[in-house]
Amino acid sequence: MSEHIDSLKTYFGVFAALIVLTVVTTAVAFVDLGPFSTVVALGIACCKMLLVTLFFMHVRHSSKLTKLILIGGLLWLGLMLSMTLTDFATRGVMGVPGR
């Protein structure tokens, strides 16, 4: 699929970054950041996901079609999460008219 061949240096660099992020997220888990603990943990997880997809899965050099499919998929995932959570978070806020 991808004709581009990355250097070993790139792959080992990405791997080192992934390990560093794993250590950081584990260490930060013991610090009380209140609600931001979740934000930081998921932010780091998203960074790791980007590193893996862009470099290890070669999305960096992939065709526009591949990128479009991936972004479309993530968009649907976002829709599913946000719509369902909107429903759960606002149930009972307004009451049901006519009941």
Binding site: M1, S2, I5, D6, L8, Y11, F12, F15, L18, I19, T22, V23, T25, T26, A29, F30, V31, D32, L33, S37, T38, A41, L42, I44, A45, K48, M49, V52, T53, F55, F56, M57, T66, I69, L70, G72, G73, L74, W76, L77, M80, L81, T84, L85, F88, A89
Partner: protein, 198 residues
Amino acid sequence: MWIFLITEIMFFGGMFLAYTIYRGAYPEVFAVASSSIKIFLGAANTVVLLGSSLTMVLAVRAAQLGQQKAIVFFLILTLLLGGVFLGVKAVEWKEKFDEHHIPGPTFHLEGLPDDQQGHAQLFFTLYFAMTGLHALHMIIGAGILITLIFQANRGKFTADYMTPVDVAGLYWHFVDIVWIFLFPLLYLIDRHMKQGPL
């Protein structure tokens, strides 16, 4: 392959959604339950799995360059690291069995009143469903790797024909990404509220 991975995103996405909703409903109980999981094995396993992703990508690179022996070598290394991950996972599950943290009649989580035990069971149901589904994907991935190792050993893959290795690599990295999200959600994010065992 990408289309298949998108369906997989939605498949796992449903479980992440269920987790998010119930965590929102019972945050304190989930914090206690999540903190009962030992963090060290999970973190070590994350490193092992990331390492297997590195060896997998090196196998793909070897295939791109047409280096027959290197493909076999890196695929075997990936399989071994995947095996280590599953082994550690088995140890973690065994511990949960011994501690009666498996949802069922004998379930008991220390430090929680009786009326909240059910909510803790909910956490462990999600824990076992999510890590179990992930482990199942790893086992399928291991089967794919074994097939590829035999084929690569016969010299089937060259620089001109390496799509199976490429596609298996995408699958393996996807399973890695699922774990990248499972690890903080199940092991980490509630840790600061209640210091559990390492």
